[in-house]
Amino acid sequence: MEAMVTAYLLGKKCSVPATLTIMDAMEYAGFKLIRGVGCRNGFCGACAVIYRIKGSTELKVVLACQTKIEEGMCVGKIESFPLNKRSFNLEELKPTDNIIGQLYPEIYSCIGCNACTKGCPEGLNVMQYIAYAQRGEYEKCARESFDCVGCNICASRCQAQISHSAVGLLARRLTGRYLEPKCAHLEKRVAEVEQGLYREPLTKLKHTPLAELQQLYNNREIEK
């Protein structure tokens, strides 16, 4: 007999196998999931849930697809958090002039409570990357926020009403677009393609008989 636990899923008392994730436990209990489920692999941030163990005061926020169900879990859902993302034209932005501070001035209202970091299911140091953004250190902000899945649990707990994931994303885009060193071999190859330099070799390959293609493939040099 499988070990079972009792959990309270959206307020409903359910007995579910102890090996399941919270998401699977909901399905076992009969919930037909449409909202609050996405990749089921911990990448997309769709399935943030909030829970406490019955009787405990402590609230925890986790991804339902990545977390095992436990005895006494009382689970509620966080779906579609109203993030306050600002629109911008990346081509017209500069990674200077405190641009993130201009677009997201609320980052300066951070009171340092660290609730964002404590809530992050990815274990990111959220408050730290907001601090980097405040100081205009966008590359550091980009690296520190890189593993963000956009579940917005941090934003749901923030006294200063910061939209953390949007701040991190802007820092990453500024870094990728402007602060990272330019890639010379990419620029060169793009120019070559645009000049049509590869048209002829590709056309030739397209019209090469199968037996010859197999020869070429089976004897091709493989970079070490």
């Binding site: 692999n41 990448f43 010379a184 990419l186 390959l205």
Partner: protein, 536 residues
Amino acid sequence: MSAYTEEMLKSIAKVESTRAARLHTEPKRFTAEEKDAVLKKFHPDYNEEAFTTLSIGPNKGDKVPKELGALLEGHSRLEKVQLDLQRLDYDVDVLIIGGGGAGASAALEAKKGGASVLVVTKLKMGYANTMMAEGGIQAADKANDSPAVHYLDALGGGHYKNIPDLLEELVENGPLAIKWLSDLGVLFDKQPDGTMVTTHGGGTSRKRMHACADCTGAEIMRVLRDEVQNQGIRVLDYAPAVELLLDEQGQAAGAVLYDYDAEEFLVVRAKTVIIATGGAGRLHYQGFPTSNHYGATADGLVLAYRAGAKLIYANSSQFHPTGVGFPAQIYGALVTEKVRSIGAQLVNSEGEAFMHPLETRDVATATIIRECTERGKGVKALDGVALWLDTPMIDQLHGEGTIATRIPGMLKMFGQFGIDLRKEPVLIYPTLHYQNGGILIDKDAETSIPGLFVAGEAVGGIHGTNRLMGNSLLDIIVFGRIAGTKAATKAKATKLAALSLAHVAKFAKALGDAGIKTEVVSPKLLPVYTHGRPGR
């Protein structure tokens, strides 16, 4: 306490005992004949019992997986619905069905082309396979490489079945796709001088795999989604398409959606339509687990087939050789190929490295199944058997910290279930990963139905019957952009006649005429899971 069972730990001891000797050796690669032999005997695509022959439609007589066949020859969700097609809920130039990487790329280009754009998705934009792609994106942008070399790699890997015109578009546009993404602010791994950090993938002859740590797809997807929002493109969530609309001349003219919240059907008129609905992993062919997102149910193939578009290689699926085999919570999730790219070997229960870790995905899958079945050298795990991926080799080869910087996602995924892959190997088994086949398009991404375009995993033919790692992130960008551009251009010159669902009625009649009796209603939209809940 280890997360592994006692039996597993005994096998790990054998793996550890052979590790030092294996560390600097490279198992021999298979010859072409050896590859053919193992594929025919052990690859799931060759399991004849798992396929059915289509009785109606453009691919009548072709074999497809049974689960897909049932949906292709299923009943329309609109069969008993009275719809007023003159009452439009949306009227746009370009309708894009699907909110993954291909749909988002198409949306950006269609908008740039001056079209009014509507993106509709079954879940939300970004809850998609793109988000989960870990390994990287191929493009021939280095001095020792060229689009022609890339072409040959993909062609041989695809068993020479790739459609030449489509493959040419893919490889020639590769460097342009990387540039486009870089300019949008995607953070690729680079050396201090700006040189891209690139690695091999299974079947590549040059190191052309670009990456953003081990969440390349997520990085690309969140940037594309952010830009779609910046551009103010309208996105309708939780509104999957259930049928395409044609006009009375037979050209694509929109779609009927099902609004999950209102539980109502919506009518969208569009001058051109792009299908970007992705793959079919959640159909669980032959009972395999899948690495795919919740909504991967081949909806686009069903819609297009019913409207008269032809499919190609719909009998060909890619099983990713290294899905998670243990523990249960992440069963079937992906262990990125990058783990093998940077040095981990595939090892059996006896501690033997039984194959080169970078054979193409289909060959690797078949060889793993052979090792577990015929050769009996699997490790007992969950309901079946699995094999080791010897991850501690990576840090031993490249220095401590390599795992933490190059595959942090993997470290974390296993870490939360008590497995430290720096110290212990991990168990893997093939998982249903990718739909090699799909809807047939030309090099402009257009189908045989005028005004109907397709991009991304729903397309068939680009990759032949086996896709190389890193070529799907590339194809969603390349063909997403082509589809968006061409659909916007075509929309300008399109005058629609009255909307029609006659093709749906015609298909239903063909179903009846062929004597097919089925309860199946399609598209499937979402899978149903009960995780062993006892029935009544």
